[in-house]
Symmetry: D2
Subunit: 357 residues, 4 copies
């Protein structure tokens, strides 16, 4: 009997169910005697022993369903990144549940924070396999995380919708796009949506450069401009601050997010009226796109095969078209951010897109 624990951790995204289905179908198809234990609400379920024994039909019909059939939560593992006393206790609780249920391994679908914890559990001797979940695409080791392309579709659709209004009314429109501390989602959706200016956390912006880009468009007779702004975008001034100063400034900022601040800066600098749209949580919801369903099936199938071969301790990654394992210890704590000088940025600049730098 092969006993496999599974959990989804952190903010949900679109292809979690498709990925779990890939693992499950592979295990059930192996001909071995397999039992899958689903932990409820992420690491919480592992900690408190809250789980359900899954049946094959639980994984039927979920390929196209957003969210996670296991539920998820964000909170408990924050402490565990640097396991203090409380964190240690939590880790011990998780180990107890793992051992009590006689698990052969634990499959963790999660992002950067969650995989830090999975690496910790792996270091503690648990057999762990990680699967790279996040709309942010910021997991080190993999070319692509699942959820990302689905989120690109929603963010791009938001820009597409704004485009018709912008063209009809002739204004500057800002669309604020998710992505936490990295700019992948904004970069892709910005290019796909035909944004004129794209602002990323990795390339602090200069309001004068933005004003210049807007002026240039106005001079060319363009009625409107679209700016795609990452939620983590930052001005050159703010980027020059110390972490403490910046935190203080953020706390005192009169605007709900960088987009509104930028809108005010543009009005002040250019006199142009600006409208802000923030699609927000929508970007992590709804049905996974076909690209994600394929990627998730491949990642899940490979995770299943690794379990059957008892290959543990890896994050399952897409690398140059192939699915491979990368040691959790190599990827934990590393952030995959956008290189300001990467080819994609250079290509976008060649097309005349301004990055405000």
């Amino acid at each position: 009997m092969l006993r496999v624990g599974m959990l989804t951790s952190g903010g949900d995204c679109q292809s979690l169910n498709a990925t779990m289905r890939g693992v499950a179908k592979t295990l059930y198809s192996s001909g071995k005697d397999v039992e899958i234990i689903g932990f409820i609400d992420g690491y919480k379920g592992l900690m408190y022993g809250d789980y359900k024994v899954m049946k094959p039909q639980d994984f039927s019909g979920i390929l196209t369903e957003g969210g996670t059939i296991l539920g998820t939560s964000r909170q408990p593992f924050k402490l565990m990144r640097t396991p203090d006393a409380e964190g240690r206790d939590k880790v011990e609780e998780m180990k107890k549940t793992y051992n009590r249920l006689k698990l052969d391994c634990l499959v963790v679908l999660g992002g950067n924070g969650s995989q830090k914890t999975s690496n910790l559990l792996s270091a503690e001797g648990l057999n762990v396999i990680g699967l790279p979940k996040t709309i942010d695409n910021d997991l080190w080791g993999t070319d692509m995380t699942f959820g990302f392309q689905s989120a690109v579709n929603i963010a791009t659709n938001a820009i597409d919708c704004i485009h018709t209004t912008a063209a009809s009314h002739g204004r500057v429109f800002i669309v604020e796009i998710m992505g936490h501390k990295v700019g992948w989602l904004t970069l892709h959706a910005g290019i796909a949506g035909g944004a004129d200016i794209i602002l990323l956390p990795e390339i602090p912006y200069d309001i004068k450069k933005i004003a210049k880009a807007l002026d240039k468009r106005a001079k060319e007779g363009k009625r409107f401009s679209i700016i795609a702004v990452a939620e983590g975008a930052i001005s050159k001034e703010d980027a020059a601050l110390s972490k403490k100063e910046y935190k203080k400034k953020l706390a005192e900022r009169p605007y709900p997010s960088v987009s509104y601040e930028l809108g005010a800066q543009i009005l002040e600098t250019t006199g142009q009226e600006v409208r802000v749209t923030v699609p927000g949580h929508m970007q992590r919801g709804g049905e996974p796109c076909p690209y994600d369903r394929v990627l998730s099936s491949r990642l899940g199938a490979t995770a299943g095969s690794m379990i059957l071969k008892k290959e543990y301790g890896n994050l399952v990654c897409l690398k140059d078209g192939e699915i491979i394992g990368v040691p959790l210890s190599e990827i934990a704590g590393k952030l995959k951010s956008v290189d300001p000088d990467c080819s994609m940025i250079r290509e976008a600049k060649a097309m005349g897109i301004s990055f405000g730098d």
Copy 2:
């Protein structure tokens, strides 16, 4: 030679081009000698004589395009609702352009404000035909405005996306939906998206009733609740205020919109954490849905036929499946709001949806 002026006024919406195409195709197909003059940016174009002579191919391929090929603007006709001296001057300017271009008639695609102005121009002796444009569906006289069903699709999709996140994380989610002072868009999208609570401007809400509805769901074991809130929703307390007091309160309100205020009230009353999503301007953008394309084609074709028959002074309306003309004088200044006791509300309540009343 039949000379027809055309303009799109007010906030843009999804099926403006499809509607203009319907008018144009009908006129060009009539075999008569027709010239269509497109005024740029709404009434502004009529006022300042800013226009272009349209060609048949200008109306080709625009059936599926959002926005308006003529551009639109909101500002100049605010004054004209009660034409003071400045408003009068503007009306005179419009009449001058109309006469100078020897127009046989003027087609106005617009919402409530714009049709007030079109009624004024009609009363001044211009031959005017109105077409009911708005995602708010608040135009008196027509069962349905074009743009509405496309906006329902976008707002429903926002709720759908939030649904998967809500189900995965188990929280209260508010989705704020457009609609100006009426609740049509929120009512339809709320039912279509399976919202548990729907709050409309026409039914002031009682926070205690909302808390009770949320409690009931929690007791039934539901992990999450979705609240669809119209941007114009109002609490019972605020609805009891005088207009002046309410304006003052709004000005002082620490929240950017009713959704955030409601979120704070729910947190305070129930202790439940709330997330707010505001899709905003997206709701009026993008491609018109097939329903709107059919409605717009029918409205446009009928407007074209009315022009050929010299029937002027009407808003072209959908009434019980037929397209008819309703005198602009009958509809101007009237708002079609949701009757709190209409059958659709009763049906929604029968299904267990709470309206917070």
Copy 3:
């Protein structure tokens, strides 16, 4: 205890689950003691006593799901339209199941054939409520059936996709659209998709008129033409045949459907190459659109309220925006087809669309 049987019969369509959810939510919200019995695979389940006792959670999360959670089948009621000996036996079996389960009533979601049977059961003394299911929109008594607008979306999308290819390559493209013996789906999708020629069963086509319409477009410099053809479209020659002759001709027809025959006729008459696309079964599948979800919720809620008030023997219908009951005896056996002289056809003709007549 209120015991309600429910079944879905005939070809599936998009909003069956949303409709059942509407009935169930209304019954469960009534505070009464309710048990819903779901019969498997339509009337077959009623005949053979194949059913499951439903729970409230069975109706959760199905608002957006296509297909039917109860399964459906087409076969057994063909005979029952004119109940011969075998049909009589089947009716008796159904009555037995109904009585054995002590049902208070039976809710039938079905199209024309299925509602003939539901009327028969009603005449036999069973308490029956019908709900108008079909993508064909051909049920007498209701302005709109659920499933129709979702199918319009898919058929229109097919035309939209073909449009870009047609424009790039410059050819005549035929898109064959479902609808059984009526043209509603083709009429709506044809107008929404900007088809140049629309062929319906209700308006037999003259190949010479089609050739003329194609010529006219070519002369106007248009590179391509799109023809939306109902699967039940028929030429003037074939329409003049006796039923027997036509059946014989159909049996000998070398083409798989009317579209291919028409394509051959066009090639022969005009020399223009024609491509045919047949989206087929896709049109009844996938997620219900927001319009259908609202309609289904309203129809279902009203059916639920009728059950609570013991109002039986009706098809629940949409009439001028209100949901009403129409006696099954009034609608059974009647087909709602497109009136060739209705306003919508006239509007389409005014826009220059040819119907081949």
Copy 4:
């Protein structure tokens, strides 16, 4: 003055305009004096000197538009693959136009056949840059062609729609997917759509293995099965025939395509009723998806940069995330087909998907 010719050749696909926009924006943003000549309807335009001088605004607003603003054609270059006398003449005509217009280079958006011709022109001394257009993804040298992911979306959506019907009615459904002689599109859409059996040209199928897979599902209590079949799929028997024998058999085949033949084989072998859906040309139409828009922008921008650097004779390719040039002489005449033993096939098999082998 830099004079750049551009043409789109072969069957159209979704992201042609986005790609041309990428080239144009890059050239116009370079600050150099650039003139772009657009040839009408592919190589025909080059042959007959049918072209238009493009303006920057011609490339505005086309990022999201399917089809090609230049038109395309398939015919004239068939001969040119092995340039006989007639082919030679055509090549000479093209060279004449190229020289007469004093072009600095020619940009060819096309698939396998078209790039054979572009390689020929390059060998003749013309400065040529190729861009990999096709929904088939069968171009050697690039990891991904533009159009492919958009087509995957449409084909997957077709399977999704069929899924709900299959689940409701309980039958075997075949969805026939495009892809010419290769299985990429079917492989991706099949996995994304959750197909149970996937049949590719590269893996000849054994009807007995298919029957076995269907039986296995039936035994597991599954009501339905979905088979994704590539239009170029072939049985083991047919694959064993000589080319001549196979052509003869195809000519005599009573079925319009492999799907219908397979359906008949399944009925005969298993007694199960089968329904076939053929979305057909739809798969190359409609709006490009965000993935394709990003890929096209990157490819186009790189082509533009290559022109500015006078790097000619390459197909612009995506390789491991980077955009690079691969000599046309290296890729011409080679087909990128699915390796039956590639990791993606193995992953799909691990999940229990049958390939009929």
